[in-house]
Symmetry: D2
């Protein structure tokens, strides 16, 4: 064995056991009773879990406002790994007029240079009018890209016909379609009324994204998915009622899955009301909600109505290059939306789910590693079993850490969770058998991360489109 980790309490989504993990050639080779290794790590009774899989983060990407993300692949993946995450899926975001194959090629080149951990892409379609949509998606799928991202809001939104077209093309290509679902018209109309009423502070951002805007868009996307029997992932569910809409759709047999994020589970819109411009650090879309929504989301995670928890890492500095590019106290629509989250996702959730018992350790692994790997079809990730990639994290379940103002390893320059104390900390992080985090030290290598070609995804259609589409049966 190249490496053996002994004396760990191994926890997977399926259960837990005591013993050793043997690693050879970057893969898990032996479990339980394991012979000697060239190198050995004594876990000392600490918890060993699969490396985290974060399937929703923005890296080296231009925002709708024309702001470049603060993070490069190098800084983003370093930050992820320092938080226990060993695989990410970020976005290859189509610029207007750009062919999708070119989009993906450009992002792939950047990631190949910079990424210190393994990675894949969601192909963000913003301009379906560009030549070759269906052909490029098919080619990209063949090349191992198996997910598409769409918006129902922002300037990059698709209208309904385009959304349906992309859903159908993605399904035909064997891809899963991820959707940011909020009703653009409701947001737009409400924002205009707020501004007209002089309500333009960060706290009003929450009002500008009414709950019903999310509910409506989720219902609509689910109806489209039902129409085509097309696999869909609803991104960042934030409200109790949108969650109910997902559950209702599943009950009808619609192939829909859903995620939420730590900031919807662990904070409310209160954070936007902090003094001065401070609330802007927490601004993201959809916004944080209230305690009833928080309770419903936890319940949804427990029942499986929510499949996983991603970070939605969207990195902007809190200065004139980022959040405050429009001034020191800009109106909320001029403030870039997004929070850093790659590095805090796992410690925050370990604290909540394992240390404080909201679901337990197995559920934590499932929500943050196993389910993302399965749903997005990432080979070799998300579990500890012979043949799987040796992506492992040794957690110290007793270590208490209080976040500081600027203690993350990304390029964002602030930590919204400053002052929050978590119990449980990722001490050692291993990527394909190589230690990339050791104690508080970064040991990873930019460019050492690999692209993860995927053969498919894990959301099966029900086998039946709307009856009116029977004439298309040959297309399926």
């Amino acid at each position: 064995m190249d490496l053996v980790i002994r004396n760990g309490q191994v926890v997977t989504a399926a259960g837990r056991w005591q013993g050793a993990i043997g690693i050879a050639g970057g893969r898990i080779a032996a479990l339980g009773t394991v012979g000697p290794g060239a190198r050995e790590i004594d876990a000392g009774g600490r918890i060993v879990m699969p490396g985290g899989v974060d399937p929703h983060c923005h890296v080296e990407q231009m925002s709708g406002m024309g702001l470049m993300n603060a993070d490069t692949f190098e800084t983003a993946t370093r930050s992820a790994a320092m938080g226990g995450t060993t695989s990410v899926i970020s976005f290859a975001a189509q610029a207007r007029g750009e062919r999708l194959r070119d989009t993906v090629a450009a992002y792939a080149a950047r990631a190949a240079r910079g990424a210190a951990i393994d990675h894949a892409f969601h192909v963000t379609v913003t301009d379906p009018s560009v030549e070759g949509l269906e052909a490029d998606l098919a080619d990209l799928a063949a090349a191992g890209h198996r997910s598409v991202k769409l918006f129902t809001t922002y300037d990059i939104r698709l209208d309904d016909a385009a959304l349906i077209r992309v859903l159908a093309a993605a399904k035909a290509a064997g891809m899963l379609t991820c959707v940011h679902a909020e009703n653009h018209g409701m947001l737009d109309w409400t924002k205009a009324r707020l501004l007209a009423a002089g309500l333009d502070r960060p706290e009003h951002h929450a009002l500008s994204h009414p709950r019903l805007a999310e509910v409506e868009a989720v219902e609509r996307v689910c109806r489209f998915a039902e129409f085509l029997d097309a696999p869909v992932m609803i991104f960042h569910v934030s409200t109790a009622r949108a969650l109910a809409a997902v559950r209702d759709a599943r009950a009808r047999g619609v192939p829909v899955r859903a995620e939420t994020c730590p900031h919807y589970l662990l904070s409310t819109a209160e954070v936007l009301r902090r003094d001065g411009i401070e609330g802007a650090k927490w601004m993201c879309s959809p916004p944080q909600r209230d305690t009833a929504d928080v309770a419903a989301l936890w319940q949804g995670l427990a029942r499986g109505d929510l499949d996983l928890v991603s970070s939605d890492h969207a990195p902007y500095r809190f200065d004139e290059t980022g959040k405050l590019h429009a001034g020191a106290t800009p109106p909320f629509p001029a403030i870039a939306n997004g929070m850093p989250g790659l590095e805090t996702r796992l410690p925050l959730l370990f604290d909540a789910m394992v240390s404080r018992g909201h679901g337990g350790a197995e559920a934590f692994v499932r929500a943050t590693a196993t389910a993302p790997a399965r749903i997005y079809g990432l080979p070799g990730k998300g579990d500890i079993a012979p043949g799987m990639d040796a992506d492992l994290v040794i957690w110290d379940p007793g270590r208490r850490v209080t976040y500081g103002a600027d203690d993350l390893h990304d390029a964002v320059g602030y930590n919204p969770w400053a002052g929050t104390t978590v119990t449980g900390w990722p001490e050692v992080v291993i990527l394909r058998g190589a230690v990339v985090k050791d104690g508080d030290d970064w040991r990873g290598t930019p460019g050492a991360g690999r692209f993860l070609p995927r053969a498919g995804h894990g959301v099966s259609p029900a086998g039946r489109m709307a009856p009116e589409l029977a004439f298309m049966e040959g297309d399926r």
Copy 2:
């Protein structure tokens, strides 16, 4: 008394009684035991009901295809009256770039000249970018126009932000918003796939309007109505599931009402599969559905989930000036949608509801006269009580009539229901005390119909908008 009708079996939405009706000054003056009249009619034991109110018909209106309706106010109202209807609400349809006040003035002038029965308008908003939307709606409401019409499909559709804006403006003006609710993107995408597959006959029209397109749009409009607590009427519900969406919205307290039409209650998409181009005579939007939908609509009418039955009279001749303007066997998208229905609505429903017992006579009056009058706020219409307008129909419940190929009194030139036999016939029709139909003879006068200014409508908001809109409380 100017006129006394004796020996009738009087039926209203509330019940039935035997006796006389005395009329003075065009109004009902006495019921039961009534003194002598200047003129007397012996109903001879036949049924006397309130004159029908048809709140959904297209008259002297340009279609989206640029086709003018076959009917003028003169021909349309003559046809309506010959079928037992004494009040209509047709559309004042905004042309692109036209101010709404000008739209309504033009239609009002045409109606004043031609209408032989009483009438009002729904203000169809197709271009909210024109100056003065909110102001014109407020002025129009003050002048007695209390309903707005919107589309979610066709070239005249409003996008979501515009739809919300108009809903809010209509609510502020005290107007009810009526919506043709189908998802444009789903229709468009499906139509393109059908045509690409060479499926372009009238029967494929049904496939081009998938059930879920109606369901989605109804759900969405109900969510907007919920957001604003704005009164909404869903036009021409055709599917079981859209009906369920209305019911669910009502259960949440959303101020939404719904109607259907005789062709959804009494025929299925089978009619579109008739030989050659014959099916084109039945083409309308949404299309006829199947027997399960028909059963659900009847049940919905019985339970009150559907409030009323309108005709959606949309008159096009079956020739090169109308349905076949694009040729003798055009592809379905080139065929004008719409069926004549003003004259057949009441006999078809009397036959079904009274003669064949689907609900009974009181329910028939409620669905076709009382409910439309109440929901749309038509003063003096829809009931037989002292002070109400003397709009009355004497029905011969035993007369059996088989419709012929071209026996209607509109300008359409064909009767889609040719060959259908109905039991029960409107023998005498009285408008404000004046006989306008006598046996089979037309006695009405173009221009004698009056505009019906309305003080409001009958759909009360629940009193609570979405919580995010609390800042607008002052606006309500």
Copy 3:
């Protein structure tokens, strides 16, 4: 005319008009313009409405505890009429071992002697083991008795098989089955735990009837009604969720109707927490709930999910012959359940619905007179139209009255609503053309009330039993 009422603002469930009402032979003979009467009443612009119909009251009946109601037919009907009610349906409650025909005969004899207003009976079945259940129900239906009453709780409850048997027999006889629906097991178990915990005061009565006990029993009864397609009325709905269960059942096509009572619409369980034993005055089953339930019930009444409002008058004196028969401060299970309500039902609801606008005057008439008359099939009642019984109330909409401690005309001796002020008062009450209340004076005559034989009821089956019962088709 025998009597003419002039200058009234006449309000029915269908609308309102100004004019005269002519009465001849105890019936309404003329409306609107009416010739001279032998006697004339000038309503002076006040409101004239149909006499109230109270379809749920306990009169001269033995309670489950062996307590006789405080009211005889004479006192109960006097109280009803003084409150504006001119028809009641009370119970003919089977004693154990008694044939139903004997039960009804005994009650009918007592009512014939004492009743000052018109009346009918629900046949309360408590012992289906007695010979002749099906035969007696058929005979009673033929004699004009068209409703049955059942309990799912108390010692007189029916088990599920008996309940189904009676539902089937009632349906076969053309009778409507009314149900007191609470889960006995839940009540019993909870009561035992409360008493074991020493929680035995009136306020604990509310805990002893958990909401879910009502919800469960309503769901179950609706499933039985669905199974047999048997018409059912759910009595005294008190919770939001039981109301939702009724609505769900209706959406499935189950022939179920529902009522509530003033004390569920206008008070909460707070009343049970009054000082000392005072709360016992308000004890009834189910108990008052909370403000969220109250809001839902009002919304349900507005939407038609609740069809009517009855009193559930259950008269016990607040002394050793009634509520306090087990002592001055008995544990709650020893306190007779029930409140007087015949006389206060209409003024309380007029105040809420007409004066304070919760629904309006027409809705008030519908809920308290028209709907009860229609649903229970009472001939000639609940409306103002030619031929109907001349049961009329002249309301002074401006008169404000504050209830006193003992100001009702029943035999109960206390008014739970003491201190409550209502706006609107029934000044003149007319039964079949005879004034029975004039100002504050009682002018009625014990024994002058007539039994109201019924030909059927107003709740139509959907036409389809459970598929497993197809073999019984011949029985229907």
Copy 4:
């Protein structure tokens, strides 16, 4: 290692991998790369799965009719193991008047003598009036018995108050309550009508258990579980609508789980219509349903609304000692209900789920081994991981077997699935490291099976009882 299995394709609920399994001391000691074993088995590329866990079977138990099961622990566990099952939970069924501790002691003694595989008991409560219910349940839980069984039908049914009492006691003791949920009244009433109509053949058994009887009882039990926040398992769900009731309850946060059985997934009521008395071989309760129910159950299993698939093995010989004890062609109520299933459960489901793809191999393991082990809290069972019991099955995925008339290893004497061909066969079955089935040979030992004491179960309460029960908080 005592035993090493090499060259297997190992499949667990979590995924699959290639490699070796090392066993020492009856437990799994090493996975992946494993050193030499005292004994080695070459799986030859075949599939290795965890041994099956069947949590619902009747063994050595007296039926309600007074018939003893055909199977002893020896024959039942032999049959189970020959079908790939290595753990069973059968019933310790209380006789009337018997203390539960005595019941369990008697069954435990019989099982200890005869059982060839590991086992646990559900404590069937039929007589809660016996002294010591709560105390015995607490003691039994402490001794490792963590599930209770209740009936809502048959002579051994509990009434609602008793059911609630036992649910509360089971929850307090940390036990999961399993329920046979059908409405007894509906069954009883329907059966009587069928017999009265002369419909008494096996096919009429299906009519005698209407779908709504299951739906109602499931709804009711879920309401009780909601009331107490008590963990519940619904046994043998057979209908689409009962499944929907479970799903609705889960959406409300009720801690309820559900199972179904192979005969509901793989056959319909058609089997009861076989010639002569043949249908009696398939008679069980609830009965098989129709194809729409079958489709819904498969969908429910895919979505996780159904958690697992058990056999409900209820063994009666098809002769005068069993099914036909009342004669050769008895009326259906005199025919014992139940089918053998311990041995066929896994091959039938492997064929459907793995070979024919209804869910796949991982889902098969989850439904038949992992989920039962987790939900019922069986230590060391249902997974392949270091430290787990070495309960393993080597499946030959290509072997096709057609069931014969009497080829099972139980004592029943017939195989209802005779003539059915399955693809995939359990070739080698290993219990705690010992081969108990080798090819077609039985190698097990009566009495070698161990009792499985449990520390708890896997169904967590939501943390909130009905608000009316707040006074009991101390009891939780």
